[in-house]
């Protein structure tokens, strides 16, 4: 009668109903006495410090990206290094081109100054409101984004 998928469907249905029933029953029979401590965000017993919506310095992302590139490089290079003797010249060339490409990426980061932590203060771009518009003539009141540290 039931197909294999039908059984899975029944299983999922039971799981969902079971969870909903448990939550409702618990809500019905438990006492409800909220206090300030209970409602606070749990941070391993410490008092929460500020809002979690903090802006991070954008340079952390750049560092993470650079890390990712070299991480992938290592993952691909270790198997290649183990067997490239068997591949002969062709295999060597494939690896060499890959390395040159990555080196180019490294040179790019270096030249563009992404490896320097101390950098000149970045002037935030002035964002113009509708660039081309004839009807709305409210001329670009620049939106200044807040300077990050």
């Amino acid at each position: 009668m039931l197909t294999e998928f039908g059984k899975i469907f029944v299983f999922l249905l039971v799981a969902v109903i079971f969870v909903i029933a448990l939550v409702i029953v618990a809500w019905l029979i438990r006492p409800s006495r909220p206090t300030k401590e209970k409602l606070m965000t749990y941070e391993c017993g410490e008092n929460p410090e500020g809002s979690p919506w903090v802006k991070f310095n954008i340079r952390f992302y750049v560092v993470a990206l650079i890390f990712l590139i070299f991480d992938v490089e290592v993952v691909l290079l270790i198997p290649w290094a183990l067997v490239y003797r068997q591949f002969g010249l062709g295999g060597f060339m494939v690896g060499a081109i890959f390395l040159i490409m990555l080196g180019l990426g490294m040179a790019y980061e270096w030249r563009k100054g992404d490896l320097e932590w101390e950098r000149a203060k970045i002037i935030p771009p002035v964002i113009k409101r509708p660039v081309f518009s004839s009807k709305e003539t409210r001329e670009a009141e620049p939106v200044k984004s807040k300077q990050l540290v």
Partner: protein, 500 residues
């Protein structure tokens, strides 16, 4: 272990190699020259010309690259691919020229190195998309194109609509490519292979669970449909086309779409075909009813694109909707599922590429001077700038598909293919759609030639080189509209897909 087959196949991907080396060269020059960016476009053009030279060589080829014991080949070198790569290179050449002249791009001068590098990344992705015969490679190349275009869409950074365009593009692109990947994984789960030729021979011989297979086919189409902006997946198109710098809009609307259509045709024709009968109609495997699917999709796409374009005041946005409508017409050629339909698509695309590039070029030249893309600001432009006005008129008439221009030839072949396949109703619907399209294209011309300027006249000159490029784009439209044999011959030569 042997990797020699990799090295031995390299001669089949010479255009891709040329583009890749040009990309590396661009990065190097950008790094060495520092603030001197004026050589970059010339290096880009040189790389493109080298690629074009190798592409012409590919017209005679018919073979698979990277064939190993476990794989029937990852890349196909055939005339069909060569044609679409040609379109991409053609569009790129003009886009590089537009970029030299565009004020929007000039303003963000310090990032020009990244700009040309990303364009080349996109070209490389499109080349692989056009010639891939393996689902993995198809997906990777699609992502390469997408990633580069996300960044390029938000390239100017200082305009609000620019960032909006980039963000919307990323979100839609991410979702649809995720859906496509899901479809690919189902297809792999059913057949156990990622090679299109192997999947084809498998689904011909063994019984396949029907419903799951339909699901996977439709899901894969979502990714392709997003690239060609077919109707239910078109939502990003108007916003991105309006917000992106004009050069990138032109590039997306021509090159990216060309790659998408090449991928679509190759995917359908290689994966699902059973045989091609003597009249050139494709007998597909009986699993997915692609014909009905394409008919519905093309009707929705055409109608939606044309009717939404009626209300647009921004010329760039209007051209975006018109490009959705054109995707609908092109899907008509797919719905026929025949070699004739494919020839029609190829002819239509060649014409569409030239015309759309031209239209965007005029919009860019005018925006450079008057700082607006609004149709109302074009009033009386035809009098003060007869040259720009007349060329815009030629491009728009060709987009409508009226007789003296090449756009008519494209539509003509499309409708002939439809009538031959006894799909008269569809042809009538498409015809009625063209009538709707006439209204919004002619509205621009009315503003150009029949209205008086609201505030003053436009005092500017079109420089000699811009004029020359404009003539280069406008002349073929008129010439091919009258003498179109070479175009048809080219299309007939380039409809050969390897294996069929």
């Amino acid at each position: 272990m042997n990797v020699d087959y990799l090295v031995n196949s390299l001669y089949l991907i010479k255009p891709e190699l040329a583009i890749a080396s040009a990309l590396v060269l661009l990065v190097l020059i950008d790094l060495i020259m520092g603030n001197n960016k004026k050589f970059l476009p010339y290096v880009a053009i040189a790389g493109l010309i080298a690629a074009a030279y190798f592409i012409i060589g590919q017209f005679g080829m018919n073979s698979l690259a990277f064939v190993s014991k476990s794989n029937k080949g990852m890349i196909i070198a055939d005339p069909f691919g060569a044609f679409f790569k040609g379109i991409v290179v053609f569009a790129s050449l003009f886009v590089v020229y537009f970029s030299i002249k565009s004020d929007e791009i000039k303003a963000s001068f310090e990032r020009h190195g990244e700009y040309y590098t990303l364009i080349f990344g996109m070209i490389l992705g499109m080349f692989f998309m056009i010639s891939a015969s393996d689902l993995i490679l198809i997906y990777i190349s699609l992502e390469l194109v997408s990633f580069s275009s996300y960044v390029l869409a938000g390239f100017t950074k200082t305009a609000l609509r620019n960032s909006e365009a980039a963000l919307k593009y990323v979100i839609y692109g991410g979702v649809s490519s995720g859906i496509m990947l899901f479809g690919i994984s189902i297809l792999y789960g059913i057949t156990g292979s990622t090679n299109l030729y192997e999947i084809n021979s498998l689904i011909q011989s063994s019984s396949i669970p029907n419903l799951t297979f339909i699901l996977s086919g439709i899901l894969i189409f979502v990714g392709i449909g997003y690239k060609i902006s077919a109707a239910p997946f078109h939502f990003w198109t108007p916003d991105v086309y309006e917000g992106a710098p004009i050069t990138i809009t032109a590039f997306l609307s021509v090159a990216s779409k060309a790659a998408g259509f090449a991928l679509l045709i190759r995917f359908i024709k290689i994966t699902f075909i059973k045989s091609v009968d003597s009249a050139g109609y494709w007998q597909l495997v009986d699993l997915i009813d692609w014909k009905t699917f394409f008919i519905f999709l093309s009707i929705i796409t055409m109608t939606l694109g044309n009717f939404a374009a009626l209300w647009q005041d921004n010329l760039k946005r209007m051209l975006a909707y018109s490009s959705i409508a054109h995707a609908g017409y092109l899907l008509l050629g797919m719905a026929v599922l025949s070699n004739q339909g494919m020839i029609a698509i190829i002819i239509y695309f060649a014409v569409y590429a030239i015309t759309n590039l031209g239209a965007f070029f005029v919009v860019m030249l005018i925006a450079n001077k008057i700082g607006s893309e609004n149709i109302d600001d074009y009033k009386g432009l035809g009098y003060s700038q007869p040259f720009l006005g007349v060329s815009l008129a030629i491009f728009l008439i060709s987009l409508t598909g009226l007789p003296p221009t090449a756009g008519f030839i494209g539509k003509l072949y499309l409708f002939i293919a439809l009538v031959d396949a006894k799909m008269i109703t569809l042809a009538v619907i498409a015809l009625l759609n063209s009538v709707v399209a006439l209204y919004y294209y002619i509205r621009v011309l009315k503003n150009l030639f029949l209205s008086r300027p609201a505030n003053g006249t436009f005092e500017f000159k079109v420089s000699f080189s811009n004029g020359l490029v404009l003539v280069l784009l406008a002349a073929p439209i008129i010439i091919l509209g009258i003498y179109f044999t070479p175009l048809v011959d080219l299309a007939k030569n380039s409809m050969q897909i390897l294996g069929f």
